[in-house]
């Protein structure tokens, strides 16, 4: 398929791997931010093409994984109400709250619908004036413009039976949280190409400077990722820490200005809890005052409800790149996609799900090596 096959070419992959082997002289740990990149890496086995001294760790860039249990619980409570049509992207439905998921709400009579765009949810609101239509607005900067557009249009068109349950998170504060951790192992980042398509990459420049880490804005196809890793390792080997753009076919330095304007019109920055990590200052988005009437938490009286997470799941360590999925004792045993303990096993983009799906046979040997390392 044109514009896809070129980026999945075996020959190209091998030449990047060879180039990478040539320039690598020391061990480096690199984090890919986005869950989509994690899946490409594990699905195509990219990490096996890399020199053994390069370790990839998987970042917190799966929106499903980092949505706190509190918001999942609020979603479940709202979806269970008789007057509500609850709309969500597909992968949120299987994420467990405290004791059930949205699919179970649907099975017991809740009107829970998978939509492909928040604007579809808005259309459902227009078509069902007697119902309250709620859209579960999760995601990073990538999904924020479309979610903002839905609220923007609802306000302009006077659609009052529509609201958003907002769980938006932002990438740069999470990167700073990882870099500030005393347990941090990450020496370079592959930034998420689609987030930067919206936001550009100027906000990564101070991070690269202040923490002395190279950041390479990277796409999602196998060759994108291999090229991104090569660019990152070259910087590390040369002692540089700059922001570079591998994903030039989609990303410009300033990003998509109209999309950013829309985000700023509808959303403002707020502290947000990340599942498995905890609260990170200025790391999320909430509706601005002119759009506050579209806030589902306020509309259904849930704004002051606080729910703590189960301490059992170690997905926070996975999301910070401190633990590999197969190093968790529950992985593949007590924790599987059918019976997930945590979100990283549930979401199709979650690191644990990726390893379970594509790699679980290697668990024993690789885990043994992992445990032998000095971490």
């Amino acid at each position: 398929m044109k514009y896809i096959d070129e980026y999945r070419d075996a020959e190209g992959a091998r030449s990047y791997a060879a180039a990478l082997a040539k320039i690598t002289t020391r061990p480096w740990t690199i984090m890919e931010i986005c869950g989509g990149q994690t899946h490409t890496i594990v699905r195509y086995g990219l990490d096996e093409l890399l020199p053994p001294t390069i370790t990839l760790v998987h970042g917190p860039g799966c929106p499903v994984c980092v949505t706190p249990v509190e918001l999942i619980e609020k979603a479940i409570q709202i979806a269970a109400r008789g007057e509500v049509i609850f709309c969500s992207f597909g992968d949120m439905l299987r994420v467990p709250g405290l004791n059930r998921d949205l699919l179970s709400v649907k099975a017991t009579g809740g009107d829970v619908r998978i939509v492909y765009s928040p604007l579809d949810a808005l259309q459902i609101a227009r078509d069902n004036p007697g119902k309250q239509v709620v859209f579960f607005a999760v995601g990073f900067e990538t999904t924020a413009p479309a979610n903002a557009m839905a609220v923007f249009q609802a306000k302009r068109q006077g659609i009052t039976n529509f609201s958003l349950l907002v769980s938006h998170v932002l990438v740069p504060p999470a990167m700073e949280a990882i870099l500030s951790s005393p347990r941090n192992l990450v020496r370079g980042f592959l930034a998420a190409g689609h987030v930067c398509t919206v936001m550009g990459y100027t906000e990564y420049e101070p991070i690269a400077r202040n923490y002395h880490v190279p950041i390479v804005v990277t796409g999602f196809e196998p060759l994108d990722i291999l090229q991104g890793i090569t660019m990152c390792v070259r910087q590390l080997e040369e002692g540089r820490s700059e922001v570079e753009n591998q994903y030039t076919r989609s990303v410009r330095r300033e990003g998509n200005r109209p999309a950013q304007d829309l985000i700023r019109e509808v959303f403002e920055i707020t502290p947000r809890r990340w599942r498995g990590i905890g609260e990170i200052a200025a790391s999320g988005l909430k509706l601005t005052a002119p759009y506050a009437e579209f806030d589902a938490e306020a509309r259904f009286g849930l704004a002051n409800q606080h729910i703590d997470e189960s301490p059992e799941c170690r997905s926070g360590l996975i999301l910070q790149g401190i633990l590999k999925p197969f190093e968790c004792a529950a992985f593949g045993a007590r924790c599987t996609p059918e019976h997930p303990l945590g979100a990283t096993m549930v979401s199709s983009e979650g690191a644990c799900a990726a390893y379970y799906r594509y790699r679980r046979d290697q668990r024993a040997t690789t885990a043994a090596i992992g445990e032998g390392e000095d971490r």
Binding site: R43, F89, D91, Y116
Partner: protein, 351 residues
């Protein structure tokens, strides 16, 4: 009290996990297999059922017959390339074909929702007549029920079928051997994407048509040519990946696929890229895999490619004695990975 004891044994599915049936329990993935094992196999346990084949092989009065049933609940009822009627005939014909049987007789039962359009019902019946004639089966018995408005979804169709087994092979996972070749009868993913595109709420335009087709004629041609078929499986719900995992799961062997030879039409690939779906798991209604000795593979491939429904057939992989019970695949960039069964339905991704 006795009645209670008989009909309310303690449920083997822990109540804390899923006290209610989810859509995923019918999605063809692991949850459905758990449901079948824990609820149905344990209740109706017998050696024929335990083979868990698409159709049962029964031997009344010395003859070998294949017997199967399937229910059709597709939405929308009409989609590019077919409708619930064509599916109901071909699906059951294909289940018989997967035993290597010659389909003979079908039953059809209709559960119709009050208020359903008579014109639509007529169209469905005509599709069934046409599909049955193409598949050379006769619809010889049936049933009609009407339920209250709101208690059905237009129409549900059940068909059951009987076919005659004219060969002496054991076509089953237990016949699969290391060294066997895996033949795939054509491109994958068209039915699932055609239905999804036609489904309300997904407004992307496509020209993709369902691959819905009867498979029995081609299978019988292979058998009549003396091809020693070890196993057959049509690639319906759960797609190619789930079918192969099902075959190999209880064996000591490994099925190994080569990703770069699996045919996927560009428009199907494009739709999958947009929706974040993996075509390996997307449903087909006119595709099957045939596992057979390597020595027969090229001859069988030639026969398949000469048939209208197998023009794009390929040797997609082979059976090895590598990781037991696993399906593995060499990815397009040359690295090996597991191909697993999904736990439930494929859900479109966020971004």
């Amino acid at each position: 009290m006795k009645r209670d004891a008989e009909f309310m044994p303690s449920c083997p599915i822990p109540i804390t996990e899923y006290p209610h049936v989810l859509m995923a329990h019918g999605g063809g993935g692991r949850l459905m297999h758990q449901l079948i094992e824990k609820v149905f196999l344990s209740s109706f346990d017998n050696p024929i059922l335990a083979t868990r084949h698409d159709s049962a092989t029964i031997n009344p009065g010395g003859s070998r017959l294949a017997f199967t049933t399937d229910s059709y609940v597709v939405q929308p009822l009409f989609f590019p390339g077919g409708d619930i009627g064509t599916l109901a005939i071909n699906g059951t014909v294909n289940d018989l074909a997967m035993s290597g049987a010659r389909p003979l007789f079908l039953s059809a039962a209709f559960i119709i929702e009050e208020g359903f359009s008579m014109e639509s019902l007529w169209r469905i019946a005509q599709s069934m007549r046409k599909a049955a004639s193409e598949a050379r089966v006769e619809l010889v018995t049936g049933d009609t029920k009407v339920v209250d408005h709101g208690k059905g979804d237009g129409v549900f169709v059940n068909t059951a079928g009987i076919g005659r087994i004219e060969h002496s092979l054991v076509i089953a996972p237990s016949s699969v051997r290391p060294g066997d070749s895996i033949l795939l009868s054509g491109d994958i993913g068209r039915h699932g994407i055609a239905v999804m595109a036609a489904r309300e709420g997904l407004a992307f335009e496509t020209t993709i048509e369902s691959d819905c087709a009867p498979l029995a004629d081609l299978v019988i041609q292979l058998l009549e040519a003396g091809i020693e078929i070890h196993c057959l499986r049509d690639l319906t719900r759960g797609g190619l990946a789930s079918a192969l995992v099902e075959i190999v799961e209880d064996t000591r062997y490994c099925i190994h696929l080569n990703e770069s030879v699996i045919p996927i039409h560009e428009d199907v690939q494009g739709a999958c890229e947009i929706l974040g779906l993996d075509p390996l798991y997307v449903a087909n209604e006119g595709r099957f895999v045939c596992i057979l000795p390597k020595a027969d593979a090229q001859r069988a491939l030639h026969l398949m490619r000469s048939h209208s429904i197998g023009a794009e057939a390929v040797v997609a992989g082979d059976v090895t004695d590598g990781s037991p019970g696993r399906v593995t695949m060499t990815s397009r960039i040359g690295v090996e990975r597991i191909v697993d069964m999904l736990s439930g339905e494929q859900l479109p991704r966020i971004c």
